[in-house]
Amino acid sequence: MENKLRESQLVFLGKLLAGYTHELKNHLAIINESSGLMDDLLMMSEEGDEKLHLRFRKIIVTIGERISAANIMAMYLNRIAHRMDSPLSHCNVNDLLTEELALMERFGAMKNISFDKNLQKEIPSVYNNPSLLQFIIFSLVNDLMERLTSGSVIRFSSSARGDDVVLHIESVGPFDSDGGAVDSGLMVQILDFAAEKADISLSQNVSSGAGLNNILTISSKMMAS
């Protein structure tokens, strides 16, 4: 019953997020067309203060750029929300990572930690639990961000291994002696359980640069339990 309750909560959260991001995109669409129309009308008007025209056009360009940035965030959040629609589906690991990191970049920026992606193009699509995989990635990245010092980098690389996909999440930089997850033992247990549920092999080693290297081997054909 506990598990069912958790699943229902995830569905509930996913629906709310999907609805919110959909509405947000609608608002952005209206702002986009209104700003575009303002630009059209301004272009057509022949008389007036040239300086004022330039000022307005600059504002319109800024509105357009911000709409575009907000739209990308809303689109990624919408995709993450819809990934909770069904437990198993075909997905591209690079897409999962890209949409998730776009939303996590701000957390990194607050600690001056940057992300470096080196993703292999044309990796095979996997049939797995995308929402659970995103949870595992989030937890690993969040844990590194908690522990790394300012100026560090988290490197991501993906590659194909047969039909499966291997994802490396590696830290580059020293760890903060005071930092760390609240209860790392519990987190390891949760991650191990999640990885087993999603048919993901999860291992960790110390890389040549003395950073932590998390290796996820994601099964391409997870069977429904």
Partner: protein, 127 residues
């Protein structure tokens, strides 16, 4: 190219009207309807060349309007407008007869290109 008659069916009135005005400034002949049923009525009154159809509306889903339009007026081309982050709903629409889909917020240049392509298809199918 002749002036293209475009019907925008979207319950977001401000979006539809601003888009219609921008298309009009570029030589199109747009009209708007703010509901699925209103859109179907408008199609019956004056047949458009291309319909821009929102996927999610309160009275009727865009899918249902699409199916109805293609059943009665198979040569009218429909471009779906979707606020979904993923392209799956757009692909589903194309399986049900839509010419193409475009995500909101709309890139006007991309939209006009799709409208022209849809119009060319309509002309070819009407001959």
């Amino acid at each position: 190219m002749d002036k293209i008659h475009v019907l925008i069916i979207d319950d977001e009135v401000e979006f539809a009207e601003a888009l219609a005005e921008r298309l009009e400034l570029r030589g199109y002949l747009p009209k708007t309807a703010d509901s699925g049923r209103g859109g179907l009525e408008a199609v019956g009154v004056a047949l458009p060349d291309v319909i821009l159809l929102d996927l999610k509306m309160p009275d009727m889903s865009g899918f249902d309007v699409l199916v109805e339009v293609k059943k009665k007026y198979p040569t009218v081309e429909v471009i779906m407008l979707t606020g979904h982050g993923a392209s799956s709903s757009g692909i589903k629409s194309m399986e049900r007869g839509a010419f193409d889909f475009i995500m909101k917020p709309v890139d006007l240049g991309e939209l006009m290109e799709k409208i022209k392509q849809a119009y060319r298809k309509r002309l070819a199918n009407s001959m």
